[in-house]
Every structure is written in structure tokens, then in C-alpha cells.
Amino acid sequence: MRPAAWGTPEAQQQAFRAVLDGFARPGTLVAAPADGAVLMFLSAVLDESVTLADPLDLLSADTRRLLLAPSATVDKARFVLLDGRTPPAATLQPALGTLESPELGATVVLAVDALHDPSQPGSGQTTILQLQGPGVPGTRALAVDGLHPGWLDRRAAWVAAYPMGVDIVLAAPHTLVALPRTTRVASHAIARGV
């Protein structure tokens, strides 16, 4: 049996380079191959030695096995996959790391409907983010379709005590955007699309 396209070392190397570029330049759109942005990101970083929490079962059981990562609860997992379209649960608390070891803060992957340039029209509820911080010359604008505004409030609380915090990956079906903990969301406006 041949491995899925995302399971090959070549695909994972290319995925990682694209993701690394996305993390180095927060808010830029990273195009994902046919298997989708969630698998592109997770396959580039997961193996047996780190934990993944998928409490909503967004991944199929087969995919979950092939990713190799053991399961953990959301508060302990190094990688957490959640749905950004629904509001965050009140008790949700991913790992933030410690002052001495901030790299133990989780990477949270949020599934959203679409990511695009703000000049493009969105569909449904579009959130416009103005981003600043390392990797962003000046301000970079980003439009996200289908992100519940509650996530931005929760993220602001999680990253308030730098260097502790979480790093967020917004994953639309075929695009992803990284929001490391250093990225400041300067303002956000919500517009109704057509």
C-alpha cells in the first residue's frame, strides 16, 4: 500500500518549509496541497514523541492513527486541534508553558472557513485582523471567514504574560496562517459578507 501523499518525507519537508515561512511572517497566506491545511501542518510536526488533542474528533480514526501522536487532554497536549467556528468552551485552557520553558506552550490549530486578503469579498462572517509584531513590517491585514470572535479574546488572555502563551494556526481548507504568541492583533472588525 502506498502512503497518503502527506505521509511521505518529501511532502512533509515541503509542508514544513511553507509552514516555517508562515510562522516567520505571521498573517501571510500559506497555500496547502490537496490534502488540506490541517493535515499539511500536523503531518509536518507530529510523530510518536508529542501529544495531540482532538477533542471534537475533527480527524478520522485512520488519519489519527497515521499521525502517530499519542492523545492527551487539551490542557496537557503540545498540539491541540479545535474548531474556530464555534465559540471556545469556558473551561478551555491549553498549556501556556512556563517562564523558564515557554516552548512548552501549546500550538493550537483552529479550523476556519476561509482566509484571504481583506480586499477580497468574504462569505458569511468575516473578521478583519490588523497584525503587528515580529515578522510583520508595519501592519499586515488579514481576513478570516468563520472565526468566532470569542477566540480572539481568549488568545489575548493566553498570550498576555509573554514569553508564555500559545501559538495559533488558523487552518482554512486549503490555506493556513500562523499567529505566533508575539503577534499583536491591533484591531479587528467584523463585517457581514454577501
Binding site: 519537508q13 515541503q14 515580529p134
Partner: protein, 299 residues
């Protein structure tokens, strides 16, 4: 350079996939927390620790068949460390290309220099780091250094700089100049000369630092503040290449550049001469001049 490298019988990139994934996770956290030293399990490499194993592991976790690699040792592509590392990567990464031209490279591994020509957004510079922690000169305990870094408590480093000013009227870091990244972590930018430190500030490219012996990875993302530690009334100074005899800036004896970092040599007659440290920069200038001369003759 040739592209058809003979295979050494290893998997692409020498490292196994588990090692690469760990390096990749560490790199993403390093970029997310600019200047923070992310620990990782540095693997045994077929070169000795201290000869660039940290940079080599980063390069092997990054490189793919679409990459063109340049390896620099002290500004040159032809010194022993650079040649050995380049040959190793050619053997273990079939399909990749190697180059000596900075502009043609997508991935550059370097020891002790940043190329003179500004790097582009599609290039990554990997630096080999011997000592990653700038606080090691003032605090021997790693546990306490980690707390100091987390709290951005660099008071004792400032005292060291102040004592330098009192004793010597000059901050005595000639290379590895402590540099504050994005307003929080202070890094040891590896033994680059002071000349190269301003290149870290709001660059287009991503800088990755790998310390193999000390098992640390850190990063300076593009468009990120990188400020050398200095006092308000003592501005940061780079190396001064003014010739005290003439009062003019020294020039490269090969290409005549007066805007590059110079290495000092003693020739056969015992005279001091100076040459560009960045050999590609020097050769590019010589080539441009030769082309211009040929064009002038042809016209």
C-alpha cells in the same frame, strides 16, 4: 557545481524522520519566541561537536530537492569546514544543488559571517553557534540563566558592559555581541563580527541559530528588532578600518571595496594587506569590473 551527486546510501538528509521532526518543532517554537533558546536532542553527527553540528542538523531538517545550498566558513566557501560540510550534504541530499554565489542560494549555512549583500525573503541563513547563551559570562547555573532570560533580567550583563567602560573605555565584546531581540531575549548572535550585527535588525530573511554541543536552537525572524546592548551615551560601534597612517578607510587589495568587512593578511614580505572576508562579494565585484572592461573594449 554539479547536481548529480553520488549517493552515500543514507536516507535523504542523513537524519531520520524523528530527528527532523523534532528539529522542525523546535524551529517553529524558536521563531514564535524570537531569541529564546529552544532545547533539543542534538544528534550524533559524523563530524565532531564544535565543527558545526548544530547548523548542520538545522540545514538537514530544512533542505529539500528544490534547494540550492551555500556553505560559508569565515566568509569563504573554500576553507576546510565549509568544504567538508558542503560535500557531506552533497553526499546525503541527492537532487539538491550547491553554489558559491550568495544570490543563487535558497539556504545558506554559515560560520562567523553574514554575507555582505542583504539577503532576500526567500533565503534562510543558518548560523553555527558554539556558545548560545550570552549570560554565561555572568551566571554559571543554566537553571538560573533560564529564569533570568524569562524575566528579561539582564542587569548583570549590563553591569559587565559598564565595568568594561570603566576599565577599558570600550565594551570588550569584539564578536558574539549581545543583542536584544524583539525587546525581550538577549542572544549571543554566534561569533559574527560587530560589523554583521546590524544585519540582524529588521532583515528580509529568517535567521536560524543552531548550537549542536549545547543543544539549543534560536531564531531571529524577518522584520524583527535586533538591538545590540549599549548605553545611551556610548553608541554601538562596528569595526573601524581606517588606516591610521593615511586617515582613509582601507580598501580590499583584490577588488578595491571600501564598504566590506576586511580580513588582515601578512604577505611574503611581511607587509599587512587587507581583503574582503566575504569571498563571493569580492569575486562578484571583480567579475562586474571584468565585464565592464570587456564591454568598454567591445564598444
Amino acid at each position: 557545481m554539479s547536481t548529480a551527486h553520488r549517493s552515500a546510501g543514507y536516507a535523504f538528509g542523513f537524519l531520520d524522520d524523528r530527528a527532523k521532526k523534532e528539529l522542525r518543532r523546535a524551529m517553529l517554537k524558536a521563531v514564535s519566541i524570537p531569541g529564546y533558546q529552544v532545547p533539543y536532542a542534538s544528534r550524533e553527527m559524523p563530524i565532531a561537536r564544535g565543527f558545526g553540528t548544530g547548523g548542520l542538523q538545522l540545514t538537514l531538517a530544512l533542505i529539500g530537492p528544490a534547494d540550492t545550498l551555500k556553505v560559508i566558513d569565515q566568509g569563504a566557501d573554500d576553507s576546510v569546514n565549509a568544504v567538508n560540510l558542503r560535500q557531506f550534504i552533497e553526499l546525503t541530499c541527492p537532487g539538491t544543488r550547491t553554489t558559491k554565489r550568495t544570490a543563487a542560494a535558497t539556504l545558506i549555512q554559515t560560520r562567523h559571517r553574514i554575507p555582505e549583500h542583504p539577503l532576500r525573503a526567500d533565503q534562510i541563513l543558518v548560523l553555527q553557534v558554539p556558545y548560545p547563551d550570552p549570560l554565561v559570562v555572568v551566571e554559571p547555573s543554566e537553571e538560573r540563566r533560564k529564569t533570568m532570560h524569562g524575566e528579561a533580567d539582564y542587569a548583570r550583563l549590563w553591569v559587565k558592559l559598564y565595568e568594561d567602560m570603566v576599565h577599558f573605555d570600550e565594551i570588550t565584546f569584539s564578536h558574539r555581541y549581545p543583542t536584544r531581540i524583539a525587546g525581550h531575549y538577549v542572544i549571543d548572535p554566534s561569533p559574527i563580527p560587530r560589523w554583521d550585527v546590524p544585519k540582524l535588525h529588521r532583515a528580509e530573511c529568517l535567521y536560524l541559530f543552531g548550537a549542536g554541543r549545547e543543544k539549543k536552537i534560536y531564531a531571529v525572524p524577518p522584520h524583527t528588532d535586533a538591538e545590540p546592548l549599549t548605553f545611551d551615551d556610548v553608541p554601538f560601534r562596528v569595526e573601524d578600518f581606517t588606516d591610521p597612517a593615511t586617515g582613509r578607510r582601507r580598501a580590499c587589495s583584490r577588488c578595491g571595496a571600501t564598504d566590506s568587512f576586511l580580513d588582515e593578511f601578512v604577505d611574503d614580505l611581511g607587509r599587512k594587506t587587507h581583503q574582503c572576508s566575504d569571498t563571493d562579494h569580492c569575486l562578484a565585484r571583480l567579475d562586474a569590473r571584468a565585464t565592464a572592461v570587456a564591454a568598454a573594449f567591445a564598444a
